[in-house]
């Protein structure tokens, strides 16, 4: 049905457009700051464009080593973590989607219960310590390997796959694991892609568990390096002597350096975002509405 383009349409579009500009502006501002020099920033000269494009903040960060190392750790954890999560979630969701499996309901309900009850911070902390997670990069991979919500979403998707597809393969003598790999996975790529990207974003953004368990700053992922830099500046700025000190800190971790760090940690997401956008909409819809 086609509607006429009216005053209402124009005002809604303008309103949403204004919202969109507001939503993007902080990112834009940060990007511009990262290109500015310290003197530009302090003089109130960075608003829409810096006076000159200056890459020294980036150069500084990559020479200094912390960020480069953090980037390296984050990439490793994201790749490995996503792979582990994806394998465990896919196999589990597929098994749980089999209605005839004895004990399936028990396991499924037990998983749902965990979405409402948890041991809480301290018991989890003590357990992970016992499991030798202190100063161990696996702390960013294993304790967060399965997201119950993702598991349910995926199970719902598998429920929607027609059983005939699997049965014909079964007649050819393939076992269930082979069927999952050769038949089910290829027809489930939208949901697998969605999950892959969800997990990758989760792993990339991880800062809480590493903050609790990694004492060795050489193991810090990028998010934690960034957090410490921000918290540092924030804490000193909020001290009683804050304002006077502010000028001094700028030279250690200037705002342009901080902004460059923020940009570096957000870039991978900006790069994969168009793909997420493309897949997650379809993936979520299929996974959620069916079943």
């Amino acid at each position: 049905m086609k509607r006429r383009f009216s005053v209402i349409d124009v005002s809604i579009t303008l309103f949403l457009g204004l919202g969109a500009v507001l939503a993007l502006f902080p990112f834009y501002q940060t990007l511009m700051l990262s290109f500015s020099t310290i003197s530009d920033f302090g003089g109130g000269k960075v608003f829409l464009l810096p006076k000159q494009f200056d890459l020294s903040s980036y150069k500084y960060l990559f020479m200094e080593g912390k960020v480069t190392r953090g980037l390296f750790i984050s990439v490793i954890v994201t790749v490995l973590g996503t792979a582990v999560s994806l394998i465990v979630t896919t196999t589990g969701a597929y098994a749980l989607s089999k209605k005839t499996l004895p004990g399936r309901n028990f396991v499924f309900n037990a998983i749902i219960v965990t979405m409402f009850f948890s041991g809480g911070l301290i018991p989890t902390y003590l357990l992970l310590q016992k499991l030798h997670m202190q100063n161990n990069l696996l702390v960013m991979i294993l304790p967060v390997a399965v997201n119950a919500f993702n598991l349910i979403l995926m199970k719902n998707f598998f429920n929607g796959i027609s059983p005939e597809l699997e049965e014909s393969a079964k007649m050819d003598g393939a076992n269930d694991i082979l069927i999952l790999m050769r038949i089910v996975v290829p027809v489930s790529l939208p949901i697998i892609f969605t999950m892959m990207l969800f997990y990758a974003v989760e792993r990339w953004n991880e800062w809480w568990l590493p903050m609790l368990f990694l004492n060795d700053s050489k193991l810090y992922p990028l998010q934690l390096v960034l957090r410490n830099a921000i918290a540092n500046v924030n804490q000193i700025l909020n001290n009683t002597a804050g304002a006077q000190l502010a000028a001094g800190i700028k030279n250690i971790y200037g705002d342009s350096v901080k902004s460059a760090m923020i940009i570096i940690s957000a870039v991978p997401i900006i790069v994969v975002y168009p793909f997420i956008q493309k897949y997650f909409a379809s993936g979520i819809m299929i996974g959620s509405i069916k079943g």
């Binding site: 049905m1 509607r3 209402i8 809604i12 579009t13 457009g17 919202g19 969109a20 939503a23 501002q29 940060t30 700051l33 920033f41 109130g44 465990v88 196999t91 098994a95 499996l101 004895p102 004990g103 028990f106 309900n109 037990a110 998983i111 409402f116 009850f117 948890s118 041991g119 809480g120 911070l121 301290i122 018991p123 989890t124 003590l126 357990l127 304790p143 399965v146 919500f149 349910i152 979403l153 719902n156 429920n159 269930d176 953004n205 609790l212 998010q223 960034l226 921000i230 924030n234 909020n238 804050g242 304002a243 700028k250 901080k258 940690s265 975002y273 979520i284 959620s288 509405i289 079943g291």
Partner: protein, 340 residues
């Protein structure tokens, strides 16, 4: 986000609608005993027939047993005087001493009050935004423009609070954009993030910035499921767009909103740890310290003892659960909506 998985997770059990967790637990036990009552060899046969599925299921079962169920045992710490050397098992019971300490702690009372106030603020201020956003997006007929808007509004969801709060702290710092603008217009500089009131406003605003677009996806999906013929019939009958929205779109959206509202109330004690922890500073503790941030600090910074912190966590879960049931009851009985 989580709410919406949950919502659909429950949706699939539509035929068993109206039951909730406890009912589910009972049902679960019934079912497993039902299986056991079957002739033994038949069950065995079924299990053998599914042997590969059990192999596939094993990693998930191990994961939840180790990382979700094993820590639940640690909850007994709430009733013990935790001693690191003796471990959870060996530490002595202390006759509810932890509970007395927690309930008598003014910082806990403050954190409890802040959590409730901030969560209620979120319900009033943040909760309606995605609904309005979805209704507005739905009114845009050019699909390309709609997709651009959706892309922009959803984007911040994927950026961590560490990064977002870095950006916010930068903008509102002494030399940041906000104060530059104030100075340009001849006004006095203002320290937004160290003033409890403006900090609280910033919590709501930044959370809308991050999540409103993402949350609106669920409402848009609900709206997309409406039969377009309804709109056509209504417009033939002379209903204008506002009337159509009120009579056709809103009733459908309302049902979804009711369920999300219950889940939001069931989350009342959470208050948004990631966001507040990354944004706050000691000056605003009195107004924005929530239970989760309090637990963290009492356990790792103030060393009040792990027993104390566990107790706070236990109290939080209990209250949360009560809220969940209460909200479900209100929506079902008072509001006459579907509920969980």
């Amino acid at each position: 986000m989580e709410a919406f998985y949950l919502y659909f997770g429950y949706r699939q059990n539509k035929s068993k609608r109206g039951e909730f967790l406890l009912a589910k637990l009972i049902q679960m036990m019934d079912r497993s005993s039902g299986v056991l009552r079957n002739p033994k060899n038949r069950l065995l046969k079924e299990i053998i027939r599914h042997k590969y599925f059990y192999i596939l299921l094993t990693p998930v079962v191990i994961y939840f047993a180790v990382f979700a169920y094993a820590p639940m045992y640690g909850v007994v710490l709430a009733f013990k005087d935790f001693n690191y050397a003796k471990g959870i098992m060996g530490s002595p019971w202390n006759n509810f001493e932890n509970f007395r300490a927690v309930l008598g702690n003014p910082d806990f009372i403050g954190a409890f009050r802040n959590t409730v106030l901030i969560s209620l603020g979120r319900l009033v201020i943040e909760f309606p935004v995605p609904i309005i956003l979805a209704l507005l997006l739905n009114e845009i007929s050019k699909s390309k423009l709609k997709r651009i808007f959706q892309t922009v509004f959803t984007f911040p969801h994927f950026i961590s609070w560490v990064v977002l709060s870095g950006i916010i702290i930068g903008i509102f710092s002494d030399q940041g954009l906000w104060n530059q603008l104030l100075v340009t217009f001849g006004l006095e500089k203002k320290s937004v993030l160290t003033d409890p009131n403006s900090f609280t406003a910033m919590i709501f605003l930044s959370s809308i910035w991050k999540e409103a677009g993402w949350s609106s996806i669920l409402y848009l999906a609900t709206i997309a499921s409406i039969n377009p013929e309804l709109y056509e019939a209504a417009s033939i009958d002379g209903a204008n767009r506002f009337q159509q929205m009120k009579a056709i779109t809103w009733p459908v959206v309302k049902t979804t909103a009711a369920i999300l509202l219950i889940l939001a109330v069931g989350n009342l004690m959470n208050g948004g740890f990631d966001q507040i922890f990354n944004l706050y500073n000691p000056i605003v503790y009195s107004h924005v310290d929530i239970i989760d941030t309090f637990v963290y600090r009492s356990a790792f910074l103030d060393s009040t003892g792990f027993g104390f912190s566990t107790t706070v966590g236990v109290l939080k879960s209990v209250i949360n659960f009560a809220f969940l049931f209460g909200a479900n009851y209100i929506v079902k009985v008072v509001w006459k909506e579907e509920g969980l």
